[in-house]
Amino acid sequence: MGRILRIDLTKKKISSQPLTNEQAELFLGGRGLGAEILFRELPRGIGPLSPENKHIFATGPLTGSGAPTSGRYSVTTRSPLTGTIFDSNSGGHFGVQLKRTGWDAVVLDGRADRPSYIWIHDDATEIRNADHIWGLDTHATEDTVKSETHKDAKVAYIGPAGERQVLISSIINDKHRAAGRGGVGAVMGSKNLKAIAVLGNREPTMANKEEFTVAARMSLEAISKNPVTKDSLPNYGTAVLVNIMNEIGALPTFNFQRGYYEDADAISGETIRERLLEKRVACDACTIACGRATKIPGSDRQGEGPEYETVWAFGAACGVRDLEGIAEANYLCNEYGLDTISTGSTIACAMELSASGHLSGGPRFGDAEAMVNCVRLIGERSGIGNELAEGSLRLARRHGHPECSMNVKGLEMPGYDPRGIQGMGLAFATSNRGACHLRGYMISAEVLGNPCLVDRFKTDGKASLTILLQDISAATDSMVLCRFSQFAMNPGHYAHLLQTATGVPFTAMDLISIGERIYNLERIFNARDGFSRKDDSLPMRLLETPLPEGHSKNTTVALDPMLDEYYRLRGWTADGVPTTSTLSEVKLGHASKQIAENYEI
């Protein structure tokens, strides 16, 4: 039986509750558990930055087990950027240490009356004063909290951006790892919570240790045999994608005005390896080691990354070829606690507004110095940074041109132009947390050929494949495994790990059903707040303006037919809302009842 730690920051009340077998079997942990708690406890219309919003840190049934890529944790809340339910997860070493405290999840309520941090260790939980660290950057925060708690403690924290409730702020751990998206850092800041430090010594128990070892070995073997996980990611990191996406004409350039960047090679994974790389870095229990410890030559600036999304957002999206400038923007984001995708994309949006004369004094495409300065201003909510801190949609709306914001449901799009990758377009549009590539990473099949290559320009069959990837991803996010495991591992591997770890005879089909349940639960959470088909869309540019050049030239996203098919296969109404019978089928009858009694959808 697991345990959930409850902390009411307003009342300074600390309590615990059991993780029920039903919660564990129907929702696993991580993202699923977060959705279950949030749906049950958070009524419609709660302001994301109000004390009533909840903030849930969770691990999964495999965290700390040593299963490949299992060293992660997830955060679930209602996002101030999108207004949707939102989970974000992060690697590094915090997740395993949280699990070792004996808690499967920590649910935060309320708002502390002054800056605070939480210290969880040896069955004790303390809420401590954080006046002296409020305002510190993330690196100094980690160092200070560790010096005050324990040198082996692992800490998750916000930087100055989260304190200032920047809507694109992140939670950082291990100085360079982020639960990056959706403004989860702002929610933590709104609760006056600077950090959570954890240290424990409880080893998770495996139901069948011998068989679990076999399952873990088979998963590791799969990872060691897949070309992406054995070669591409270890050698070049995620930025290996820069040249690949550019080659197919789907590297969004100049804020998605083009799909091909002439200077892509200057910002590629290959160039990062040549010019910035110091060494490879791995999260807990990971053999892929896609992380890059880097240093800007001739300076004392060092850190980790830039990853693909970051080098794209500050590079091609902003028309910047200065790799050192991009690395500096990346380091600053980690220090302020900012989401690199949304920060880069919002700056790119400002660049387009400036170029078209709708924003005076804004940054210009290609100006690395202005871009880096914008990151500082966003982190400090100073000058133009105060506008940019609200994300691209609010910025573009304020200046009368919402079409310049490349977002879905308010979340900035990652570095894949769906005009050249139709299924990815559908996955962006139907993601419950907005434009996220990780909900259903169709790039894997449509570009990388994992598990096999499907035609990226075709729409046939894409609804079905998107649903499969979304559902299995929801399940693995709830086991809190890294998405990259999915390049090599299949549903059978995941089920084998889970059944041997828990003793519950989960099958691969069970896992897919669990994912489907979680996806439906998130969907009705959003639906009761008014989200529907109108929100399952893409920026008009992607639907109406063909790409002007490259190997995806003359294409737009044919979204509507895919969306109709998607809703039909999901068992949702034409407006994108799960029907009562669908909810019953996925064992969410209770949620359906709650909706029927309290809401009109």
Partner: protein, 306 residues
């Protein structure tokens, strides 16, 4: 060549991971591998129940003894005359005897590609002489294989359709057990059109082996559709896949269980050898390009990026 999505689904439905594994020659032919890698190849083949490990002849004794020590049922396929096939018949025969003596249970030999091509461009006696030379070259290996199945690697990327057919006929005459597409070191790997052509000519009398570029379940299933699309052919003595990605194929096949949408009819040019001619000798390339121009699916070529 067109392969309907439904046909691919039907092939996939008939296959499970274990059956697929039994069709795979788990291959490692790079020149720089270490003993540790060969042992690990054997361990993997044993664990997944692949048909054989396919290795260079130097490693045959090592692999054979190691597999024997594990009481494994996995066979050892030794390549011979690899990868160019341009050595004397005597040297191929000796390499075969040596491999068999060291424990090889199967032999994958490279045909004398140049002689096959000479045969088709020469007329009269010269052509007949070349034909005899190729047949004797294979025959000598078959003889020294001492009953172990011999697979003849045609290196189809160097050959026209007519030459592939001739090579199949000669291989059969010489007593080979299989014809095999490629070495993986030549101008192209296994394409469905070549596999189908080979199967059409050898019927159910010989096996066909797809080798080169088969990396995931979809490519494996396309190969099966082209060369082993009936229960009587879908068995290890009639069809094989030679690949260093066997584990990835087995792992990726699991995904096919949960959705039929992986299987779509591919744009024919994408799986056609005529679309991948850049590494071919010019005169062979010319034949492929000419074939492309008269192909009923040529309309796809109008779209540069189809």
């Amino acid at each position: 060549m067109r392969i309907p999505a439904q046909s691919l689904r039907e092939v996939a439905e008939r296959l499970d991971e274990e059956q697929m594994a039994g069709l795979i020659d788990h291959t490692e032919l790079k020149p720089h591998v270490l003993r540790k890698k060969i042992r690990s190849l054997c361990d993997e083949a044993d664990a997944h129940r692949f048909a054989t490990v396919c290795i260079n002849s130097w490693w045959v004794r090592e692999a054979s003894q190691y597999l024997k020590s594990k009481s494994s049922r996995v066979g050892v396929a030794s390549v011979v005359g690899f990868p160019l096939g341009q050595m004397s018949t005597e040297s191929k025969a000796f390499e075969t005897s040596d491999a068999i003596a060291n424990g090889a249970t199967e032999v994958d030999m490279v045909i004398n590609v140049g002689a096959i091509r000479d045969m088709t461009v020469s007329s009269g006696d010269e052509g007949r002489q070349m034909r005899t030379l190729v047949r004797d070259d294979i025959g000598a290996v078959v003889k020294k294989a001492d009953g172990a199945p011999v697979k003849v690697i045609l290196e189809t990327g160097y050959l026209t359709d007519e030459e592939i057919v001739q090579a199949c006929r000669i291989s059969e005459e010489a007593g080979a057990a299989f014809v095999k597409t490629s070495t993986g070191f030549g101008p192209m790997g296994a394409y469905p059109a070549h596999l189908k052509l080979m199967r059409d000519w050898v019927g159910d009398r010989l096996g066909v082996k797809a080798a080169g570029g088969v990396t995931n379940f979809l490519e494996a299933i396309r190969s099966i559709y082209a060369a082993a699309n009936s229960p009587s052919l879908l068995r290890p003595d009639r069809f094989r896949i030679g690949t260093s990605n066997g584990i990835n194929i087995i792992n990726s096949l699991n995904w096919a269980r949960y959705d039929g949408s992986w299987f779509v009819e591919e744009v024919p040019c994408k799986i056609c050898p005529s679309n991948y001619v850049t590494k071919q000798p010019l005169e062979v390339q010319t034949v492929y390009v000419k074939k492309c121009k008269t192909c009923p699916d040529n309309a796809y070529r109008k779209f540069k990026d189809f």
